[in-house]
């Protein structure tokens, strides 16, 4: 019972708006530090690859973006499920806030992959299983957003898109394992594989730094977008008018 009151307090819109605002710097600053460190380590400190030369360095954007695009979808689906089952609006807000971020990561992965593919495979694009399934992940995100925008009522959009997100989550493992299931042109798992990463530490450490940097970046962006979502949903609510009134008064006082 005690945890429940705590839970509901946290998920109340004014509380959540405030907490999300306070969290932003705690995510944004580590994100900046980690990404800078990772990029420095990756572009300057890591040795050039014996096969690929310097071209491989794009991995420091490519792989984290790819992982994050998958993680975002999972987060979105879990949040949507929570929102649907317990009727928690905040969870829906988180799902809605995550979708465009995840879509951006998917797009970034596709773009960097293409740029990498040109020197490596001599083509911008091939129809190989992993590449195609990543493209389809982008389509899933687009479908989710299209469905949301087809509804005028936020509550309905939340619940309908939640069903879609949950049904679509089966594709995440398919994308991840596609390289193992179909022999493809794309690199097999090099980091998350049985028997440990197949990469020297000087290459691996920056990659891990970048990954956590991207994760914090996602968290910071999600906080910003959740705040915007809360504002959109609660535009008639009293606490907002109170908040705006207080701001207005302090502003006019100064």
């Amino acid at each position: 019972m005690g945890t429940w009151t705590w839970f509901h307090k946290l998920s109340s819109p004014p509380h959540c708006y405030r907490i999300a605002g306070q969290l932003i710097p705690w995510f944004a600053i580590p994100a900046a530090l980690l990404i800078v460190a990772g990029i420095y380590g990756g572009l300057v400190r890591a040795p050039a690859d014996y096969q690929q030369g310097d071209a491989f360095r794009i991995i420091y954007v490519h792989a984290p973006a790819a992982w994050l695009s998958l993680m975002c979808y999972t987060v979105m689906a879990v949040a949507a499920a929570v929102g649907l089952v317990w009727r928690i609006k905040l969870a829906h807000a988180l799902a809605a806030a995550t979708a465009p971020i995840g879509a951006s990561f998917a797009l970034l992965c596709l773009a960097t992959g293409s740029i990498w593919g040109k020197p490596m495979w001599g083509t911008w694009w091939t129809w190989d299983a992993r590449l195609t399934s990543q493209l389809i992940l982008l389509f899933l995100y687009l479908g989710y957003q299209a469905l949301r925008s087809a509804y005028d009522d936020i509550g309905k959009a939340d619940r309908a898109s939640a069903v879609l997100a949950i049904v679509g989550v089966v594709n995440v493992p398919i994308i991840h394992f596609s390289v193992n299931w179909w022999n493809s042109l794309h690199q097999g798992s090099t980091v998350l594989r049985r028997g440990g990463p197949a990469m020297p530490a000087s290459m691996l450490v920056p990659l891990i730094l970048c990954f956590f940097g991207f994760t914090f970046l996602y968290a910071a962006l999600a906080c910003v977008r959740v705040r915007a979502e809360v504002l959109r949903r609660e535009r008639n609510a009293h606490w907002l008018q109170d908040l705006a009134g207080r701001r207005g008064r302090t502003e006019s006082a100064t």
Binding site: L84, A129, T132, S133, I136, L137, F139, L140, L142, G143, A146, L147, A150, Y151, D153, G155, K156, R159, A160, V163, L164, I166, V167, G168, V170, N171, I174, W182
Partner: protein, 229 residues
Amino acid sequence: MILATTAPLRAAGLVLRRDLALAFRRWEQVTHPVVFFLMVATLFPLALNPKPSLLADVAAGVVWVSALLSSMLALETLYRADVEDGTLEQLTLTGQPLALLLLAKTVAHWILSGLPLVLAAPVVAIAFGADAAANAVLMTAIALGTAVLSLIGSVGAALTLGSRRGSVLLSLLVLPLIMPVLIFGARATALAMHGESAEGPLWLLGALLILALTLTPFASAAAVRISLE
């Protein structure tokens, strides 16, 4: 409290029979999915350079893409008419498990749009110069694949009910979700055409079907309730 005295399974049978009766009332339309399938399949040779070897190479792909598109096109009408005339509203008020009634509607959809393709697919494959030995596998795969599609599509169709632009939005939602069906299905067909064992992908298709059977009816029911709000 009085409860519905009709057993749930009997109710589902009634829904299934109603949908079939409605379809056969305009029986020419029962043939539409097949004819659409045959036509899309016909378009390709027209658009391609008709080298026989090329056609045989693309046979599996063309059969699968045409079958999925044809079955998907028919999806749009799965619930829309029922919403517009208020029948779906009444279905939710029968006191019967909604997921079961919707499953019955989906089965009707598959009988009308998937089953005919099972029979038509070998014809197209042979016309494209593919080896007839692969037909058994092709038919099994198409049967399983269209069934999964009907189930997943039923969720998509229910989700798009609340919005106006049906068919295009529906494809946007459904196509990414049925990608695995396409991959396994085409793979099974290709393997069989090359005389290899297609068991692996067929089992995977079967697994997908069981997964879809257990999950999608509930998702559809939830989506229908949302759309009626």
